[in-house]
Symmetry: C2
Subunit: 873 residues, 2 copies
């Protein structure tokens, strides 16, 4: 049997969203429910994918099916396509599986031509309306199907209005509209060289093609990438009988929600326009009335609509977003769908629906998009103000939230200004550990250089501070305390606003609303926690981040990057002494200076986590990161270290690497200099002994060896760890347990995970590095070509944001299986950036991992995503 490419509304139902798109499925469902829906048919998403397979052609089968359905349709509604006596006019609208509002194209009033319009004028007894509809159709068809720019038509209208000495479109009469039609068609012929297509069937097929084509337009592609909608889904096309909200003062059109999409409040919320078509509401030329006003205007219609709305909400068991048209006092439903809503509304609606007995707690858990929670946890721009704001540039969305403040250029200034009560945004070429205090008091951080894993980005995410990083277009002039971007020069003290969720940088101040976690939040999260299987831990390098993670429900620390501790001013000197040391003895001396600091850090972390796991990753970055690069710093630091500039330069040169990402780092440092692992083990264990001795809880440190690619490498470092730890524990006289595990972040480690597991007591998938190595591209450099890849649809999403399940995921699954094969009770987790990404968390659940670890502010997101994954399973 051949594929069925076209469904009448009466043939479909609400579950057929994959085939009919959301709009088509819901039109069918409403039809089944006996609601007043203008009839029509849906050309399926499969027809769309077939169109692309056939080289952007609609094949004969599909075409025949469309016309067969058109014939049935004509019989059903008793009108005929192209019949001047009683013409059938249709709308042609896109409708994908997932709602993509405004992304694709719509054509209204299709079926008009010079002859039909005459009949239509007579039939409706409203020539102005008929010609207005015709000129709208020509305009829309020319724009959408033929790519003649809309503004050109607007110019013609403006010219006409000028000639007629009027201001509003509504002041133009039937003859004016008729004349506009003539002018539009002339313009069309001039530009396209052919007459405007008069045959309604040609119009229809062209319109269907245009909708299919619009699936591939640039804004749709960008939207899909942002919303993780696969390109291969395709869009359906809905061909529906026109009803006219613009056929007089007894007509109108509107949109409404069953609950307030901003706050979640339970009450019809929406607006409508009298004597208008849908596009007029969207265009915002006239100011619509609130939906409550309809109660006074047309009480019967309002009551009918309210009853339908209530029925739809109960039917779909969720807040509905509806479009309707009133034609000569008669209500028609054009669309219903689960309404988009803010995070706050989503939370309130989910909780309310449970309280109303409409949905279960588990269903409620599925009703909030995890990544939406971000906006509850961080300040947000006032939406109305944002619309007016002037965008001057874009960087990387490095840490979410919105910030607005006066620009300062140094951490010192940041502190000083903040101390006197100013809200500031810290703008730096790049940040370094010395900037911590300034970063801590800033509303937001903006950097010229550095990617998603730069110092600024990592620290800001830990703090929950808004950060836009790597805006390379900024031209900095630090001496003059100013920078230029997007043609503006911004001086110290000038306001800017940045959005760490989008990377946008705005000129001037945009008011923000603060983070707002309501009582609903903890009730809701408790439901989520009750169902999830995955534990959620936090990545935290210091007590502040650890406390934040704890506050957001982290069940331990999954990743403490010890190197961040080395950067503090008091320690970096010893670190540098270690690096320039020429023998083991000198290295040990320098390391001994760092040890007490590290021990203190670890004690503080253990205290915060109260016996929950604290996973400490040993030194990871290449050593050159601790050394200066600028000439003047080299001189200063050489003096500080008491060595010659030449000597320091020699060390720096000897540490130079062609590909530092693949260089002397991770456990390779510990294999070369076991004394580093020895010192870190000492700090980890001594701290655990001290805290355990206090008797409040017992600590079981998790020591994590990074960048392992071979079991012997892990064994070598583990032997050092165990020898050091066991000696200290024996001396302490207390009974302390600890575990030694490894990051799985090198493809070879995943491939040989059965061997690695003979030594590793846990695996933590470092999916940042694993993604880099598996794809063979460096995150810092990929920006240069990834845009070409998105444009050519080679990749649809950023593999650093969403775990690549086909490639990297295959390695994760393989390693999990091999690891458990060797050691059935091995703990498996993930601690890359992906640990806070909902689709990646879902993958981790399916792959059978035990935990995910992510930055503190993503912990709630991961908790919810984990719960949803468990419920979907």
């Amino acid at each position: 049997m051949s594929t069925k490419f076209v469904y009448k509304f009466s043939e479909g139902n609400g579950t057929m969203r994959e085939l009919l798109g959301g709009k088509g499925a819901n039109l069918a469902e409403m039809t089944n429910l006996g609601m007043p829906v203008p009839q029509g048919f849906t050309v399926t998403t499969e027809a769309c994918t077939q169109y692309y397979k056939d080289g952007k052609q609609i094949n004969e089968d599909i075409r025949n099916e469309i016309f067969a359905n058109l014939a049935d349709f004509e019989k059903l509604v008793g009108k005929k396509f192209g019949d001047p006596e009683n013409p059938l006019l249709v709308s042609v609208r896109s409708g994908a599986r997932a709602s993509m509002p405004g992304m694709m194209d719509t054509i209204l009033n299709l079926g008009l031509n010079d002859e039909v319009v005459e009949g239509f004028a007579k039939f409706t007894n409203n020539p102005r309306f008929a010609y207005d509809s015709y000129r709208r159709f020509i305009q829309m068809f020319s724009d959408v199907v033929m790519e003649l720019p809309k503004p050109e038509f607007e110019k013609i209208i403006d010219q006409k209005k000028e000639e007629r000495g009027v201001v509003q479109d509504t002041e133009l009469d039937a003859d004016d509209m008729k004349d506009l039609v003539v002018r539009f068609k002339a313009f069309y012929k001039e530009k396209k060289g052919t007459d405007f297509p008069a045959d309604p069937k040609v119009q229809l097929m062209e319109a269907v093609k245009a909708v299919f084509r619009s699936w591939d337009n640039p804004r749709a592609n960008v939207y899909r990438r942002m919303n993780e909608i696969p390109y291969d889904w395709g869009t359906a096309v809905n061909v529906q009988m026109m009803v006219f909200g613009n056929s007089g003062d007894n007509s109108g059109t509107g949109v409404a929600f069953t609950r307030n999409p901003a706050t979640g409040e339970k009450a019809l919320f929406g607006e409508y326009l009298i004597n208008a078509q849908g596009e007029d509401v969207v265009a915002g030329v006239r100011t619509p009335f609130p939906i409550s006003h309809l109660k006074e205007d047309m009480p019967e219609v309002y009551d009918q609509f309210a009853a339908i709305a209530d029925r739809l909400e109960k039917h779909y068991r969720d807040m509905q977003d509806m479009e309707f048209t009133i034609e000569n006092g008669q209500l028609f439903m054009l669309q219903t769908r689960n309404g988009k809503r803010t995070a706050a509304a989503a939370l309130k609606i989910a909780v309310d629906l449970v309280d109303e007995g409409m949905i279960s707690e588990n269903e409620a858990v599925l009703r909030v998009e995890p990544k939406q929670l971000d906006s509850l946890l961080h300040p947000q721009f006032d939406a109305a103000e944002l619309k007016k704001a002037e965008l001057i540039g874009k960087g990387l969305a490095a840490s979410p939230g919105a910030a607005c403040g006066k620009v300062v250029f140094t951490a010192e200034d940041a502190k000083e200004w903040a101390d006197r009560g100013e809200k500031i945004v810290l703008v730096r070429r790049e940040t370094s550990p010395e900037d911590i205090e300034g970063m801590n008091v800033a509303e937001g951080i903006l950097t010229v250089r550095g990617g998603m894993t730069s110092h600024a980005a990592v620290v800001a995410r830990g703090m929950g501070t808004c950060c836009v990083s790597g805006c390379g277009e900024i031209v900095m002039n630090e001496e003059a305390k100013e920078f230029t971007l997007g043609g503006k020069t911004i001086k110290e003290g000038d306001f800017i606003s940045i959005d760490g969720s989008t990377g946008n940088i705005y000129y001037g101040a945009i008011p923000t609303s603060p983070a707002a976690i309501s009582g609903d939040f903890s009730r809701f999260m408790a439901w989520a926690d009750a169902v999830r299987k995955l534990k959620v831990l936090a990545n935290a390098d210091n007590p502040r981040d650890a406390k934040q993670g704890r506050a957001f429900g982290a069940q331990g620390i999954g990743l403490c990057r010890t190197e961040h501790m080395f950067f503090e001013e008091t320690r970096i000197k010893a670190m540098r002494e270690m690096i320039v040391a020429e023998n083991t003895e000198d290295r040990k001396k320098a390391l001994a200076k760092i040890e007490p600091y590290q021990q203190g850090d670890f004690e503080a972390l253990y205290e915060v986590m109260e016996g929950d796991p604290v996973t400490i990753r040993f030194l990871d970055p290449p050593l050159h990161e601790f050394l200066p690069t600028k000439e003047e710093d080299i001189k200063e630091i050489a003096d500080e270290l008491g060595i010659t500039v030449e000597k320091l330069k020699t060390v720096i040169a000897s540490l130079h690497e062609f590909n530092p990402m693949m260089g002397h780092r991770g456990c390779r440092l510990a294999v070369s200099y076991p004394e580093i692992a020895e010192m870190q083990t000492t700090a980890v264990i001594k701290a655990a002994i001290n805290v355990t001795k206090k008797g409040k809880f017992s600590v079981k440190p998790q020591i994590m060896i990074p960048l392992v690619g071979e079991v012997k490498e892990l064994k070598f470092v583990k032997d050092v760890v165990v020898a050091t730890a066991d000696k200290l524990i024996a001396e302490s006289g207390i009974d302390l347990e600890y575990e030694v595990g490894t990051m799985i972040e090198i493809p070879r480690a995943a491939l040989t995970a059965d061997e690695i597991a003979t030594e590793a007591e846990f695996f933590s998938f470092g999916t940042n590095d694993l993604t880099q190595m598996t794809f063979g591209f460096s995150r810092d450099d990929a920006g240069k070509f990834l845009d070409y890849y998105y444009d050519n649809k080679v990749y649809e999403s950023d593999p650093f944001a969403h775990l690549d399940q086909k490639g990297v995921g295959k390695l994760v699954e393989m390693a999990a299986k091999l690891g458990r094969q060797t050691r059935p009770d091995i703990h498996l987790g993930i601690c890359g950036e992906h640990g806070g990404d909902p689709t990646s968390v879902e993958f981790c659940h399916r792959a059978g991992l035990d935990y995910v670890s992510c930055s503190p502010f993503r912990v709630p997101i991961a908790r919810l995503a984990a719960a949803q994954a468990a419920l979907k399973d």
Copy 2:
């Protein structure tokens, strides 16, 4: 049943080499053959690995088994250990599975003490001999077991000789020897704080332990790494009754081969010393006689030995390397093994043994080590002269062979000097494409910078010219035309000698013997070709290398790196124009200039290969490699390109990458700039059309897309290729076939090979990059830490030299399986450096690949390795 750790010689046989080691197995075999072998027993290799498992302890079981066997042994020979009346003295020697000459330790005359020596003196009626044996034992035991340096003992002997006014050891009499024993023991006590162990059983156990320990000594570790002998094999220990070649003029000791190990000539070859122990032969203090002299000295012994030698050769069906001792006119065989031999000898012996009917052709194929062939294909240093040479430094063994010549520092000088008949070695900081002509005329190339894949290394391997690269210790002074290394300053015109097979750099001239391929070679290789399953192709970027590959039997080109063609002076300007172009049109213009050159190159390659496959890899390196880095060059090139210095600097800066290895390169370039792929396709196809039109043979180009990680990426580029190619072919009116395939060099490509194969008609494993990504280390940087890894036995061999079968190999096998699953007739090959490495070739055979491709001079090696793999299968 518990493991048996000790075997009497009479219990073993020649097949038990894994357990008894080579020496032990052959001693057992000779015992079985009824040959005169001093009896004893072998402690197995498993005892050695047990010793390491037990934390370097010999456990009670093994100890008991040794003493039980000792007791049986005493009964067998009628002597007793420690019995002054009729003492049993033994030698304790190592013997691993593979011969590791001189790498591990030997102790002779064990069982002597103050009491036993007295009895021994009486028993032999030769006090001088007895005390000489005793002092030798003390010396050897102290050195090997107790790590007291040998030279200290030599000093004591020298002192004694001085006191006695004599020059030769032989001039010392029995009392002198007795006195030396006293002095040795005093020295021992002074140094070790204890008496020299008098109990023969203690001596024995300590000696066994010392042999086990010597398995792990640094020189053994280095030797194993060089010879790919696994660490976990362990060594056996042979305890054998002493026979004394030094017991008088009717005694002696010697070594002999059944054929000449240097030339392969069929005749007993060897030497012996009268009245000496084995170590005297090795030490070279006295000059031994050639073995033929023994015929005159002791005709009966000679005849007996010659008969045994003949029997052994026939028994083992291979040339034997034997050790023997004559004690009071009686012959004893101490060892036999298949003799090591030069490549030339190996070839001649293999061919001769076939002609003598002793082995089959297939067996002959297995008798030559593939990598040995290298020395037939390149000049070699004269072995005797090499011993005297002064080593001044070491770089990377980048291209094999030996070279000796006068130093020049520029390619121009190289050409000039060579033109006037000088042999020169070109010394450069690093080479670049402009140096090609100079490299072409050089005997050898030495560079300060650059790894195994640097320009110098790759080009030299292609040319078959000796090259040592990356000798960072060289201090260059190009202006003064000199460099210093190892304390020597070498000026232009001074002689140096370099060995590209070892990386050694020698001061002065060492004579070389030229490459020598005999008639046996082609006969032998034909046998190899008859059995191998793998095709062998060559990596060749130009007609010269292609011809060389062809001459060595390459069945096509498996990798033509097109970028090497872009570097030539006439082309690089157009390449640079392409890079600085600001739009597609300008890029296309610049590319159009390169196209005819590329076409010409490809035509030439097709001509050489006469219809055999020519695999052309599209542009691979990051574009910044084509731009200058030095300030003065930037100025010059900006002028040449007619742009400002600023503009060029901006382009260079925009191309900067943090990790170029993982940056904008490979097919990523073609996705960004499809016009590059278009131009290359045009050149490939037009060239094929032209050559095919000549009618001699038809060309089927293989277009290879590098660095693919995702099927859509390949499809995108393939679509460009196919559109371009099909149009040209249609226009040409001839029937040309071509294939489009991909490198598998990104882990993700291997993981998703089933998808990739939907588009790829062949896979070529790029194991260089695949190794880098799978291990997560860059070849250029790994040198900094790999030594620590070798020292700690984390890695036993360089994964860039020998394919890592566990990790990288797993990916290769997975990809081969997935690829064939999708496309059963897909061609699979390998074109990394590993394509010329015998163990890697063997892996490729087992993994079921269709071909390997390697540099021209490795083609014969690959052919032989492939044949051996097929025979072993």
